[in-house]
């Protein structure tokens, strides 16, 4: 039964990684940049929801929506101020800027909300479903997280595949210059991508903190890095890949811990290295020639 419990915990942890990884993969797939500030947008989203529901007494759903709005605006502002001026620069310059933005957000949060951790009140309550006479526990948060993850993945697949904006995004992803010649507003498309990615970050932040209710300015950084790993694992740029990578990473992490808590992270990354050696583009990644 402990194997089944570990599996469920792994899927629950993995779904959080998956939602964060979806944001990474969207932005990478379309803007071809690694937005390392993504993890910190998650943190901002969680803080917004924390204050909205805690201090202003809004219902949980309104808190989540408010967090999504704030993060969307934040994401678009970051893109406009920090990344857009560097669109023609070397990709390394954008990467370093993203790390700078990440530090900026973390330190602003430290200044605004102080370093002492806050305990996040779960937006879906603390209940759980018990099976097999209480031997197997599935929390409501885990169920909601997995559902949210699947819904978001399906919605994003539909959006990029069927809608006009989604097609524009894919066009930008393939060739920005050609897309512009075809009359696609590349700047607007990329801005839209950041808006969607950041709204997802807000949802991820709320679900992350509902599962693990400890909120501080560095809350987003480690899950952000793990989710980035998950996105690479699943094949960065691929939407189903991000989800698969996230969930697998969560499961591997929990089982590695059950195997030996001292070396769990080492096991996780060893698995990643093996996968990337065998399949360098990640599990579901397409082999495209990289233009750097």
């Amino acid at each position: 039964m402990s194997i089944l419990n570990n599996l469920i915990n792994g899927i629950s942890l993995g779904s959080v990684y998956a939602i964060i990884a979806l944001g990474y993969t969207m932005v990478y797939g379309i803007a071809k940049m690694l937005n390392f500030a993504h993890g910190d947008v998650i943190m901002v989203g969680a803080y917004v929801c924390f204050f909205a529901t805690g201090q202003f007494g809004l219902p949980p759903l309104a808190g989540v929506l408010l967090a999504m709005v704030v993060c969307t605006v934040l994401g678009m502002v970051i893109e406009r101020l920090a990344y857009k001026p560097l669109r023609q620069s070397a990709s390394l310059a954008v990467l370093i800027t993203a790390i700078g933005v990440s530090y900026f957000l973390q330190n602003s949060a430290l200044l605004l909300w102080k370093s002492d951790p806050k305990v996040f009140t779960s937006v879906v309550g603390t209940g759980s479903v018990k099976l097999f006479g209480g031997e197997l526990t599935i929390t409501h948060v885990a169920i909601v997280t997995v559902l949210a993850c699947v819904v978001i993945m399906l919605a994003l697949t539909w959006f990029t595949g069927r809608t006009k904006m989604g097609k524009a995004m894919r066009a930008c992803s393939e060739d920005k210059a050609a897309a512009q010649l075809m009359g696609i507003d590349v700047d607007r498309t990329i801005s839209m991508t950041f808006a969607i990615g950041s709204a997802l970050a807000a949802i991820a932040g709320v679900l992350l903190c509902s599962t693990y209710p400890s909120l501080m300015p560095t809350t987003g950084s480690l899950p952000g890095i793990k989710a980035f790993t998950a996105a690479v694992f699943g094949g960065i740029g691929s939407i189903p890949g991000a989800m698969l990578g996230g969930i697998l990473l969560g499961i591997i992490e929990i089982f590695a811990k059950a195997f030996n808590t001292n070396i769990s992270d080492a096991v996780v990354f060893a698995v990643l290295i093996v996968v990337l050696l065998v399949k360098p583009t990640g599990l579901l990644g397409k082999a495209v020639r990289e233009k750097v």
């Binding site: 942890l13 209480g134 209710p213």
Partner: protein
């Protein structure tokens, strides 16, 4: 309508004030030395003649450990005000920020002795304290730390003393207490193997448990205080049938462990060390989760003895909020120095080096003991470690109850 506007104005005013107050906490450390510096250049001789001993304090007032640094600063200030009100020997405390960083702590130390500090109080956290201890030992300044608990702080340095328990001491005391009071027969340990404090306590706990025959059925670790998932660690403890889980860790991961244990319907006795103090003050924390939690802390702010009540009241009036053990450690540091100075006949015109030798002799003297908030009859060994009885508290109804 008018009422509303008045109210909102008042609220805005309060917000503005609180912002200013927030800034004040961080920035007082910067202007303070300037003020004392200028005040001291001319009347330096008069200052000494009237008997003001200058104490230089070091600790994190900003950064992630600011909670601890501010507490040690404010607790000490309460004591200094009390001592100065007694007449007699006068203290002046200049407290500098080290941001929890070793290099900045040494810079702060140099600035303090440049300003004429005669005794060093600090540092709050271990790593900076080790760095400063090397300096004070070479330059012969007496140093007393409220809360740096590693044995690395005092090892080989006759001039450095601690008011807090050492890490190994906590591990040994915890094992003995659990065994003697029959709190648990099968013990699980979850500790942070990336942290010297946590590992230090665990190693001593394990060694002592082996010696006294306390059965440890499960030992699991986590790598970092940002770790959030403890289901596996708790699952192993539950599977091994542990009826007590020993947590030599800080309060942030503890809050997550308590939450996840509740989801799993796992309710052993949770037993922690002084790093767990502060868990009840966590913003948004459901204190019912901590019901029955036991921890060793030298100070109980809800204690009913007169001295504790006076200290808590004075602290609340001056800074707001309930003082934690770090504040009480700071308070005790000032009184330990005060009583040692009096017993050794130290005067403000003595050099820092003379004061250092006199205080070392006094602290290690067989008949010297200090009664403080964190223990009665505190004595010090030549290694600089304090000896006092541990206090175990249990959380009942959202407050500590001394056992």
């Amino acid at each position: 309508m008018k009422m509303n506007r008045a109210l909102s104005l008042a609220l805005a005013g309060a917000l503005g004030l609180s912002l200013l107050a927030g800034c004040g906490g961080g920035s007082t450390s910067t202007p303070a030395p300037a003020e004392t510096g200028s005040a001291e250049t001319t009347p330096a001789e008069t200052g000494s003649a009237s008997g003001v001993i200058k104490i230089g304090g070091i600790g994190p007032l900003t950064g992630s450990a600011a909670v601890y640094g501010l507490a040690t600063k404010q607790g000490a200030e309460v004591a200094v005000n009390e001592i100065n009100a007694l007449g007699g020997l006068q203290f002046e405390l200049d407290f500098q920020d080290d941001e929890g960083d070793a290099e900045k702590a040494v810079n702060a130390y140099n600035a303090l002795i440049g300003d004429g500090a005669q005794i060093i109080y600090g540092c709050t956290t271990t790593t900076p304290c080790v760095a400063v201890a090397a300096e004070t030992n070479a330059a012969r300044y007496f140093q007393l730390t409220p809360s740096a608990s590693s044995t690395d702080v005092t090892a080989g340095r006759d001039n450095v003393f601690q008011v807090c328990f050492t890490d190994p001491n906590q591990g040994i005391t915890a094992a003995n207490y659990i065994k003697d009071n029959g709190l648990g027969t099968k013990v699980a340990v979850i500790y942070n193997n990336g942290d010297a404090y946590s590992t230090g306590i665990y190693n001593a706990f394990q060694a002592q448990a082996d010696e006294i025959g306390l059965e440890i059925v499960s030992v699991t670790t986590f790598p970092d205080d940002t770790n959030t998932d403890f289901t596996v660690q708790l699952g192993e403890a539950q599977k091994a049938g542990a009826d007590l889980v020993f947590l030599p860790i800080y309060y942030t991961p503890t809050s997550l462990i308590l939450n996840q244990a509740k989801t799993m319907d796992y309710a052993p006795v949770f037993f922690g060390c002084d790093g767990m103090d502060g868990i009840l003050d966590l913003e948004g924390f459901d204190t019912s989760l901590a019901e029955g939690l036991m921890l060793m802390t030298p100070f109980n702010a809800w204690g009913e003895d007169e001295r504790t009540v006076t200290f808590v009241t004075e602290y609340q009036e001056a800074y707001g909020g309930i003082p934690n053990q770090f504040a009480a450690d700071g308070y005790d540091c000032m009184y330990a120095i005060y009583e040692a100075c009096q017993a050794a006949g130290i005067t403000a015109d003595m050099s820092a080096q003379d004061i250092c030798e006199a205080l070392i002799a006094q602290f290690t003297a067989a008949d010297f003991s200090v009664d403080g908030l964190t223990g009665t009859g505190m004595t010090w060994s030549t290694s600089g470690e304090v000896s006092k009885a541990p206090v175990v508290v249990k959380v009942e109804g959202g407050v500590y109850v001394t056992q």
